[in-house]
C-alpha cells in the first residue's frame, strides 16, 4: 500500500463528456497513484477510450477536471500534456507512415524531451532495443507487422519520456505469445516508475498486469478495486462478461 503522503499522479474529477444526446462519460472521478499499474475495462462503447482521450487531451470534457502532478491540465492541448509526461498508444496503431521506426521515436524526442541530436538517436536506439525493435530501426514503419506496430507505438510513447503511459488495447489482434511479449514489456516499464493505465479486453492480461482495475459501463464506474474483487463483482460480470 502506498503511504497517504503520496499525492496522486493523476486526479480525474467529475468528468462528463457527451456527444450530442449520448453521454459517453458520466461523472467519472478517479485518482491514479504514482507508479500504479491500472487496468481499465468495460464493454465496447462503455467510455474507456473517451476517458483516455480526455486524459491525453484529444477530447475536452464538458464538465470536470483532469489534474496531473498537481496541475490542472483540463484545458491544455495534447502536445503540452505530452511534454508534461502523458503519453499514449492508439487502439488502432497510428504510426508516422512516411518515417522509419527510428524517426517515429525521434519525433517524440525532438518535441517532448529535447536534447542534442546525437544523444537523441542514442536514446531512441536504447528504447528500441528495450522493445525488441532494434533490428527494425531503419525499416519503414509502413512495413511493420501488427505486433511490431504495437511495440513501436509503445516505443514512441516511451520516447516522450512519460510519467504516465496510457496503453489503449495494445494487445488487440495479437496471438497469445505476442500478448505475453507485450505484457512483459508493459510490466517491466511499470517497474521503472512509469505509471501505466492499460485498457484491455484480454482478461488474463488485465488480471496479470493490474494492481487495480476499474470497470466502466455506459459511461459510469461500476467497480473499482483489486482485480479479483472487480472480477467477482456481480455487476461487472453482468455488464462485461455477459452472464
Amino acid at each position: 500500500m502506498n503511504t497517504a503522503a503520496d499525492a496522486p499522479l493523476l486526479q480525474v474529477g467529475t468528468l462528463t463528456r457527451t456527444f450530442g444526446g449520448f453521454t459517453a462519460l458520466d461523472n467519472i472521478s478517479v485518482d491514479i497513484r504514482k507508479g500504479e499499474r491500472f487496468g481499465l475495462i468495460g464493454p465496447n462503447g462503455s467510455g474507456k477510450t473517451t476517458l483516455i482521450n480526455c486524459i491525453s487531451g484529444a477530447l475536452k470534457p464538458q464538465v470536470g477536471s483532469v489534474v496531473f502532478c498537481g496541475e490542472n491540465i483540463t484545458q491544455l492541448p495534447p502536445h503540452l500534456r505530452a511534454r508534461r509526461g502523458i503519453a499514449r498508444s492508439f487502439q488502432i496503431p497510428r504510426p508516422f507512415r512516411s518515417m522509419t521506426v527510428l524517426e517515429n521515436l525521434m519525433v517524440g524526442l525532438d518535441f517532448a524531451a529535447a536534447g542534442s541530436a546525437a544523444a537523441e538517436e542514442e536514446i531512441a536506439m536504447s528504447i528500441l532495443t528495450r522493445m525488441g525493435l532494434a533490428s527494425k530501426a531503419g525499416a519503414a514503419s509502413a512495413t511493420l507487422s501488427q505486433v511490431e506496430l504495437r511495440k513501436m507505438e509503445l516505443a514512441r510513447a516511451m520516447a516522450v519520456r512519460p510519467k504516465l503511459l496510457i496503453s489503449d488495447e495494445a494487445m488487440a489482434g495479437l496471438s497469445s505469445s505476442e500478448v505475453d511479449e507485450v505484457l512483459d514489456l508493459l510490466i517491466s516499464l511499470g517497474e521503472e516508475d512509469i505509471t501505466i493505465i492499460m485498457i484491455e479486453h484480454i482478461m488474463q492480461a488485465v488480471m496479470r498486469f493490474s494492481e487495480r482495475v476499474m470497470c466502466l459501463d455506459a459511461g459510469k464506474i461500476i467497480a473499482l478495486g483489486a482485480p479479483g474483487e472487480v472480477m467477482a463483482d456481480k455487476r461487472v460480470q453482468e455488464a462485461y462478461l455477459g452472464t
Binding site: R94, F96, S98
Partner: protein, 321 residues
C-alpha cells in the same frame, strides 16, 4: 560533420548560381532569355514556396493565385502611392502574404484535406473580387505601370528583374532547406502523416501549421511582387489566375515534395517546357501539357522526379546520408 559539408556545398552552389546569373545579365545582350528565364525562376520560387505547406505539411493549397495576386497588388498599390523601390515592394508583399498565410493557417484548425483546398480557392475568389472593385489600383480594367529608371549595374529592367527573381529563388530554397532539416520539418512530416498522433507525441501542430502557412504565403507573395513591373501592367484576372495555383502544385508534385530539390527540378522541367511550347506552338498548349505530365507522374512516379532518382526519398525528406 556530414551535415556541415552538405551546408558548405549548398552555399557554394548558391554563390555559383548567383554569380552566373549576374554575369549573364552583364554579358548576354539579347533580352529574350531574361524574359523567359524570369518566368521559370518565378515558378521555381512558387513551387518551392508551395511545397513548404503543400508538401512538408500535406495541406494542399489551391490558393497560390491568391497569395500571388496579393503580392502583385501590394507592390502596385505601394508603388502608386509612394513610388517605393522594388525591394521595398517585395518586402511589403512578403509581410502582407505572411499575414494572409496566418489567416489561412487558422483555417487548418477546422478544415483538412479537400475542404482546406476548397477554402483556399474561395479565398482567392474573395480577394480577386475585392481588388476588382478597388479603383485606386485600376479595378477590373487593370493598371499600367511606368517602370522607374533601371539601377546600375543592369542595363535593362528585365535583366534586373531576372536577377531579383533569382535572389528570391535562393531565399525560398534556403528557407525550404532550413525548414526541411530542422525540427520544424520533422514536426510537419509527423503531422502530415497523422495529426492526432503527432499532437500526442508532443508536436505543437497548430503552431507548426501556422509557421508553414506564413512562410509559404510570404514567399509566394514575394515571388509575385515583381510581376507588375515585369509586365508593366497588372489586372485582377491575370494576377489571380488559377493557372498559378495549378502550375505551382503540378511542378511541386512532379518534382517530388519530400526534398526541396523536387519542386526546383519540377519547375525547371515544366517551366522550360512551357516556355518552349509558348514560342514554338502556342501558350494555350501549356495547360494541356501540364495536365498530361501531371497525370503521367501521378500514375508512373507518385513521388515525383526525386522518387525516381533516389528511392530512399520515397520514405523521407533527406538531410543525412
Amino acid at each position: 560533420m556530414n551535415k556541415r559539408s552538405h551546408s558548405i556545398a549548398f552555399w557554394a552552389a548558391v554563390a555559383v548560381f548567383l554569380v552566373a546569373v549576374l554575369s549573364m545579365t552583364q554579358i548576354v545582350r539579347n533580352e529574350y532569355p531574361f524574359f523567359a528565364g524570369y518566368v521559370i525562376l518565378q515558378f521555381i520560387a512558387l513551387a518551392v514556396a508551395w511545397s513548404i505547406l503543400g508538401g512538408y505539411a500535406g495541406y494542399v493549397n489551391f490558393g497560390t493565385n491568391a497569395f500571388f495576386g496579393v503580392g502583385v497588388y501590394t507592390a502596385v498599390a505601394l508603388f502608386k502611392a509612394t513610388g517605393a523601390p522594388l525591394a521595398v515592394q517585395i518586402a511589403a508583399a512578403a509581410v502582407v502574404g505572411m499575414t494572409l498565410g496566418f489567416g489561412v493557417g487558422l483555417l487548418t484548425l477546422r478544415m483538412r484535406g479537400i475542404f482546406f483546398s476548397i477554402a483556399t480557392i474561395a479565398l482567392a475568389i474573395i480577394i480577386e473580387t475585392f481588388v476588382m472593385n478597388w479603383r485606386f489600383v485600376g479595378g477590373a480594367a487593370g493598371i499600367q505601370i511606368q517602370r522607374p529608371p533601371v539601377t546600375a549595374p543592369f542595363d535593362s529592367y528585365v535583366k534586373m528583374l531576372f536577377f531579383v527573381q533569382a535572389v528570391l529563388v535562393v531565399i525560398a530554397v534556403a528557407i525550404a532547406r532550413y525548414v526541411q532539416n530542422s525540427r520544424i520539418g520533422r514536426g510537419l512530416q509527423a503531422l502530415r502523416d497523422d495529426e492526432l498522433a503527432a499532437e500526442c507525441t508532443g508536436v505543437p501542430t497548430l503552431k507548426l501549421k501556422l509557421i508553414a502557412c506564413m512562410i509559404s504565403g510570404a514567399l509566394i507573395s514575394a515571388a509575385g511582387a515583381p510581376a507588375a513591373m515585369y509586365l508593366q501592367y497588372a489586372d485582377p484576372s491575370s494576377a489571380f489566375n488559377l493557372s498559378y495555383s495549378v502550375s505551382a502544385l503540378a511542378m511541386a508534385l512532379i518534382g517530388g515534395t519530400a526534398h526541396w530539390i523536387g519542386p526546383v527540378l519540377g519547375a525547371i522541367l515544366l517551366g522550360s517546357t512551357q516556355q518552349l511550347l509558348a514560342v514554338t506552338i502556342s501558350s494555350e498548349v501549356n495547360v494541356l501539357v501540364l495536365g498530361i505530365m501531371l497525370v503521367l507522374f501521378v500514375v508512373g512516379a507518385p513521388k515525383g522526379i526525386i522518387g525516381l532518382l533516389r528511392p530512399r526519398y520515397r520514405l523521407r525528406a533527406g538531410g543525412k546520408q
